[in-house]
């Protein structure tokens, strides 16, 4: 039993199944992060001071977010993620041009950049813990840890998917028929859409949490 439109686009809708599926999934992800951003706005509007007080204290923790959070590291991370989005597109384009060796290179780079993002992130978290600043310290840090933490989980998921397509997943391409190659290229496009979305979430997180 063959499911129709797994590889080829359906003529009247113009997309294949997986591409429509990933867009719908991303719509639900927009609602997930939308809910979290809405919660952030709601809490911030209701707060007396933001970033707010130290726990149990009357001492103001900081006047501005950038006195608590490390903006240079986050800027570096922004650039790393944007670069990884570029390499992801290059990986897909390489497949379109039937250059599998280039695909391996660019996909490998995407994975390494994503790992780099997580390493930088862990330094950032470590710095907070050294100051004894935790999610429980106040709601500013709570929002910071939960939102960036959930984003980091999405990055990790992306790394796992991309690593699969860098390693064992390439079997499909190596079968070599035109249909298998088109199928594999579609998968990389779908994985790419997810990866760009994860990138985009960070583009929203960076200014809203670190800068304003």
């Amino acid at each position: 039993m063959q499911i129709p439109y797994e590889v080829q686009a359906r003529p009247d809708t113009g997309v294949n199944n997986a591409k429509l599926g990933i867009w719908l999934f991303l719509a639900s992800e927009v609602m997930l992060f939308g809910g979290l951003f809405a919660a952030y706005v709601f809490l911030r509007i209701g707060a007396d001071a933001w970033p707010g007080m130290m726990m149990y204290g009357t001492e103001v923790m900081a006047e501005r977010a950038d006195e608590i959070l490390n903006v240079p590291l986050a800027t570096l991370n922004t650039m790393i993620l944007i670069a990884s989005s570029v390499t992801m597109v290059m990986a897909w384009a390489s497949l379109k041009m039937d250059r599998f060796d280039r695909y391996k290179l660019y996909m490998g780079l995407t994975i390494l950049l994503a790992l780099g993002f997580l390493v930088v992130k862990s330094f950032e978290y470590g710095e907070k813990f050294d100051h004894h600043w935790y999610a429980s310290t106040n709601n500013f840090l709570g929002v910071y840890f939960v939102l960036t933490g959930l984003h980091a989980i999405h990055v990790t998921g992306g790394i796992l998917v991309n690593a699969y397509f860098w390693g064992p997943g390439t079997k499909l391409w190596k079968r070599g028929t035109a249909r298998d190659k088109a199928h594999f290229t579609n998968r990389i496009e779908v994985a790419g859409l997810y990866w760009h979305f994860v990138d985009l979430v960070w583009i929203f997180l960076f200014p809203t949490i670190y800068l304003i």
Binding site: P4, A18, S28, M31, A135, G142, V146
Partner: protein, 586 residues
């Protein structure tokens, strides 16, 4: 990201092992049945919790066999878990997971769902979500006690059962999201040739809109669930205001959070969820009414338009659950207006179904009786909801038994009747045998009377203001004095309802083995593809011997001049008055 399915042809050829065939199946029909059996068991379990509560309410402090006298903590656990299990583990999986999975691909002429392995994953997430929920009864101090709505601050400082509840919900939400993506892609991409959107059976439309609601409304609850998990596990205070004092003294948290935030996020899901509960039911009833009145649905396009309108509007009515939270009169005014507007499309659909009956030559089988029972019962449920949608009348009624009566009318003799109707209607499709009509009628009439015996007194009790949260049924509550005796009526009715489910359970299992065999594939002489094009009962993987082509709309019954009173969608005859003919005229 699905693997090619070239290998599955080989599967139908050789015999698969039990686990592969019934547990890790990727066939939508098997998965539909998995959902169906699991959900029916959860419905029975949730019903059992309610019976224990009703036993306690009718005679407070009574010794219940095996359990002893209920403690208030146990009562609260049963209450919270009854709601959670019925909504998230019983009705939605039965309406969407079981009926949607089984029937939608067949009705649109598809070989399977678009992503068969994702479909399997949905069921397994649902199953383990259910296991987590059930096992929370056995952790120290028992399951969640903060109600199915899990309002903080109470839910934030609850015992471990609440954490289990949240993890269970995360699994169930994941299951729903995967399922919703799968349904939408299947309906958009896998329609057979000629199956345009306005030739989709109304049931498919209902599932389509439902899937959008699940896809877009559930994630904010998942977000809220993560925030509550952080509150409980990382000691954040997203939902905890400053200066909160409990029985153990001041809470040692940073504070500055807002309990109202949870309510907004929760009801942003939970109002669309109400439509998730009711739309598939309307879909099932529509199929059965058209089939058994032998008439086209009246106003099919109008009904579809109402459905789409309901879908959109259900996202902007959520705060009518929150009139007494002090969120402000301006916001209340907005949500009252949207709430009154959203009642219109529901009335349109219900009226269209009533008009469909008019002038029909009705076949009264059990499925039809349940579908007919749905109409007035859902009507009562809907009409009793109007006073709750307006702040001035909601304020005295809020949190009383009136609210419980209202939504149980919608969901129990409403949705559950429709689901029973669906079981009686599609049973021959699945098994090739019919269910017993006599036992079916006993089941219907008994359930109809018993359900009204349970839920109507709730409306009466609620009007003087009896709170829904009383462990002793109102013994110590002066508002309840005049109406407390109804507790006995309701509890007796609840046990009578249990009694009248026995004919159903017996009928269900007996008919699988011994029911009368159907004489032809299209047992109900229906027009939709699941009966006309696919074999009854279905054989293994794959739905159709040859992929059907669709020539006209879904409900071509009693077409003048046609030799029989039904004209299946895949039969190529020119019909005067059908939608194809109309489109030629215009």
């Amino acid at each position: 990201m699905e693997e090619g399915h070239s290998h599955s042809d080989a599967h139908s050829a050789h015999k698969e092992g039990f686990w592969r065939r019934y547990w890790f199946s990727t066939d939508h029909k098997v998965i539909g049945l998995q959902y169906g059996f699991t959900a029916l068991l959860f419905l029975l379990f949730g019903f059992g919790l309610m019976l224990l509560m009703r036993w306690q309410l009718a005679s407070p402090g009574v010794e219940i066999p095996l359990l002893g006298a209920l403690t208030p903590e146990m009562y609260n656990q049963f209450g919270a878990m009854h709601g959670t299990i019925m909504v998230f583990l019983g009705i939605v999986p039965l309406a969407v997971g079981a009926f949607g999975n089984y029937v939608v691909p067949l009705q649109i002429g598809a070989p399977d769902m678009a992503f068969p392995r994702l479909n399997m994953a949905s069921y397994h997430f649902y199953f383990w979500g259910g296991v987590v929920m059930l096992s929370s009864f056995f952790v120290p101090e028992g399951a969640a006690k903060a109600g199915w709505t899990s309002y903080p601050p109470l839910a934030d400082i609850e015992t471990m059962g609440q954490t289990m509840w949240l993890w269970g919900m995360v699994l169930l939400i994941t299951s729903s999201l995967l399922g919703a993506v799968n349904f939408i892609v299947t309906i958009i991409q896998l329609r057979a040739e000629g199956m345009t959107f306005f030739r989709l059976p109304f049931f498919v439309w209902a599932q389509f809109i439902t899937a959008f609601l699940l896809l877009l409304a559930f994630p904010p609850l998942e977000a809220a669930g993560f925030l509550q998990l952080a509150d409980r596990l990382l000691d954040t205070s997203f939902f905890l205001p400053s200066g909160l004092v409990t029985a153990d003294g001041p809470l040692e948290v940073a504070g500055g959070g807002s309990p109202l935030l949870w309510q907004h996020l929760f009801w942003f899901l939970a109002h669309p969820e109400v439509y998730v509960l009711i739309l598939p039911a309307m879909g099932i009833v529509s199929e059965i009414l058209a089939n058994n009145t032998r008439k086209p649905l009246w106003g099919y396009r109008l009904m579809v338009a109402s459905l789409i309108f309901l879908g959109f509007f259900s996202f902007i009515v959520w705060a009518h659950h929150m009139f007494i939270t002090g969120m402000g009169t301006t916001i209340s005014a907005f949500f009252q207006v949207t709430t009154m507007i959203i009642s219109i499309p529901s009335v349109v659909i219900l009226s269209a179904l009533m008009i469909t009956l008019f002038g029909g030559s009705i076949r009264f089988n059990t499925a039809m009786w349940f579908a007919l029972g749905f109409l007035p019962m859902f009507g009562i449920g809907g009409l009793t909801g109007l006073p709750l949608g307006l702040a001035p009348t909601d304020i005295p009624l809020h949190d009383t038994y009136y609210v419980i009566g209202h939504f149980h009318y919608v969901v129990a003799p409403g949705t559950i009747f429709a689901l029973f109707a669906g079981i009686y209607y599609w049973f021959p499709k699945v098994t090739g045998r019919t269910m017993n009509e006599t036992l079916g009628r006993i089941h219907f009439w008994g359930s109809l009377v018993a359900m009204n015996g349970i839920f109507f007194p709730m409306l009466i009790q609620g009007l003087p203001g009896v709170s829904r949260r009383l462990f002793d049924g109102g013994l110590t509550y002066s508002f309840a004095e005049g109406v407390i005796h109804y507790n006995v009526v309701m509890s007796v009715s609840a046990f009578i309802l249990l009694l009248f489910q026995l004919p159903f359970i017996i009928n269900f299992f007996m008919s699988i083995k011994r029911g009368r065999k159907v004489e032809k594939s299209n047992h109900w002489e229906s027009t939709t593809l699941e009966w006309s094009a696919a074999p009854t009962p279905p054989i293994g993987h794959g739905n159709f011997a040859t992929v059907p082509t669709v020539y006209h709309g879904p409900y071509e019954y009693s077409v003048p001049g046609h030799e029989s009173d039904f004209c299946p969608q895949d039969v190529p005859v020119a019909l005067s008055g059908s939608d194809t003919a109309k489109s030629v005229e215009s």
